[in-house]
Point group: C2
Chain length 348, copies 2
DNA sequence: ATGAAAGCGCTAACAT
DNA sequence: ATGTTAGCGCTTTCAT
């Protein structure tokens, strides 16, 4: 087969002794065709090693069979999971996925969107940068939002985690373990996810008759370094015997754990940490990170499903929120049966 | 712009007052064109919001501008890094990347390859399943191998880590810390990477006047669970005061650490562990995992570069081995200045 | 340096 | 149920 001219549908038609269009119909299993001819054509195609040219199909039919995915960073474990789910679901739907990382950078996002438009993808799933995404009107493509930025675009299909439910899960767990005044370790203020998280906390506190204003907060980047720095600030500010932190993100939580160790404190004896995301690394930390897991892979799958609907015109423009799950590992002390914990000798 | 018919090169040509072909030449910056007309055309294109149709370009020119990447699992942090490097480099080269996960499954791999052929990608980067990859002859596409499976295909471009150098690095580090008889925790026997690793160890042992036959081995899946199980077997077999393990993979190393803790042993007091890969999770384990880092992102970049060469016909069919780097964290005891370590009270 | 015309491989009317 | 015909949007000879 090597070095041979590539087979076209014409070769298949000739081989099968039918016309081009009959061959095409058989190959795209259209209804109006006899089982007999279809068999002939399919056999001919197999014999010749024919591979359908999706470029030509796309050009003629207006459907390229490709979907775009624009996420902050494919190397981030959370987004990698999302990508995997999307990829799997797309393959099931017979589509291929073009994946791009925006690095939370407007320019990169814009360039990727352009590449996607030029590739004539049938639609795109995007976690837009900076929650503004004014390119949206000029988008000219079916799309669905993924992650925590759906709020601003009411008339748009979106898929995200159920932050409200997740925060309730976390806060109730904290309360049940006797932590009534956890620090909130938040992301950068300008991120809409930050506001969402904070609002969910406030709402639930009110429900539980806790004054949300009493909860101390600290913020930083959504990274290990960010959490590390924020934790040092927290420990400098809070001289309690036991410090509890509810981090808005697992990477920050992991960074917080490292910072605590650096000050000679151990977890969960002197410090309790609750994470949020469910990245695999949390399982390998010591102690294991108790966290709220977002359904990353399912998010990717659902996003593709919504996008397919969107493309087919049966768009419900609905917001979908998938539930999160608490994973208990060892980073949370049980303060309800505590002998009073001591401040470590080496504390600053 | 919304709802409007999509602009074609004909619209641009008309707007600029030139012919279709002149417009095409300007848009693909061909040499034979006056700076003047080019300007006119480009301005017209911008004015109309014209977006080049890559499907049509690909169809006519035979270059789709897309590259394929087939890796075991995009959700695996190592491969996610590789994908990121490839993605970045592809974007720089003006190409898009179609990413697929094979899950080490022949059938999935074959289906993905077919999708890639039908999408008319210009070439593919692949870490082939099971190191056999007999589809290779029927491939009919430029490709480059990535990872540890290049050995079998001498006449093929490939990019991988320098295992020999990496093993030397690890073994010498072990020796310098006084570990003269580490366990080798290997992957499944049928994986070619296993053989490569083992051979590198043997060769280096001979160089260092150590009898490789004295090194005990244990094997399992390249996963946390695999390493966990293997470590339990090792600890059951080896009653030494201090057990040292050189794992062929970070996930296994992390699993080994968990298993050790379950038996009441702590690291690095009773157990020393050296990993291999450099996944981020190793940094969050406690103690941090000392490991040999593969240059994952660079691997992805180089693979794209090789592929671009391959496509352009200036193929050197060379094997490229990128060097690895030792990351010292805390999982290795220094036995050279040791008070004799004790067996933990709780050991089985 | 520019234009005219042909055609890449396929699908979608429109015939029959 | 099958064949005929006309493009989809672009690049590429071949003229000029």
């Amino acid at each position: 087969m090597r070095g041979h001219r590539r087979q076209t549908i014409i070769d298949v038609a000739r081989q099968a002794g039918v016309s081009k269009s009959t061959a095409a119909r058989a190959l795209s299993d259209a209804p109006e065709i006899s089982a007999d001819t279809r068999g002939k054509v399919l056999r001919a195609a197999r014999l010749l090693g024919y591979e359908r040219n999706h470029l030509a199909v796309g050009m003629r039919s207006g459907r390229s069979g490709m979907l775009g995915l624009v996420i902050p960073d494919i190397a981030n474990p959370f987004w990698a999971e999302v990508a995997r789910g999307a990829q799997d679901r797309a393959a099931e739907a017979g589509s291929s996925l073009l994946v791009f990382s925006s690095d939370w950078d407007h320019g990169r996002e814009a360039r990727h969107l352009q590449a996607l438009r030029q590739a004539r993808v049938d639609g795109v799933i995007i976690n837009p940068v900076a929650d503004s995404f004014d390119d949206l009107d000029r988008f000219g493509l079916p799309f669905v939002l993924i992650g925590s930025s759906a709020e601003r675009f009411p008339d748009t299909s979106s898929v995200g985690s159920d932050i409200t439910q997740a925060v309730r899960l976390g806060l109730d767990h904290l309360i049940s373990k006797g932590h009534r005044r956890p620090w909130l370790m938040l992301g950068p203020r300008w991120r809409i996810a930050q506001a969402r998280f904070l609002r969910a906390v406030h709402d639930h506190c009110v429900e539980r008759d806790v004054d949300p204003a009493t909860l101390p907060t600290e913020d930083g980047e959504y990274t290990v370094a960010g959490g590390h720095a924020a934790m040092h600030r927290i420990l400098a500010a809070d001289r309690s015997a036991h410090v509890t932190v509810f981090a808005a993100n697992d990477l920050m939580a992991l960074g917080a754990g490292m910072a605590a160790r650096e000050t000679g404190r151990t977890c969960p004896e002197h410090v309790s940490i609750l994470g949020f995301d469910g990245i695999p690394a949390g399982a390998f930390a010591w102690p294991g990170l108790t966290t709220i897991e977002k359904p990353a892979r399912a998010l990717g799958r659902r996003a593709v499903e919504s996008l397919v609907d969107e493309i087919a015109g049966r768009a419900d423009h609905g917001r979908i929120y998938l539930p999160c799950r608490l994973i208990e590992r060892g980073s949370l002390a049980d303060l309800t049966r505590a002998e009073a914990p001591r401040i470590p000798a080496t504390a600053p």
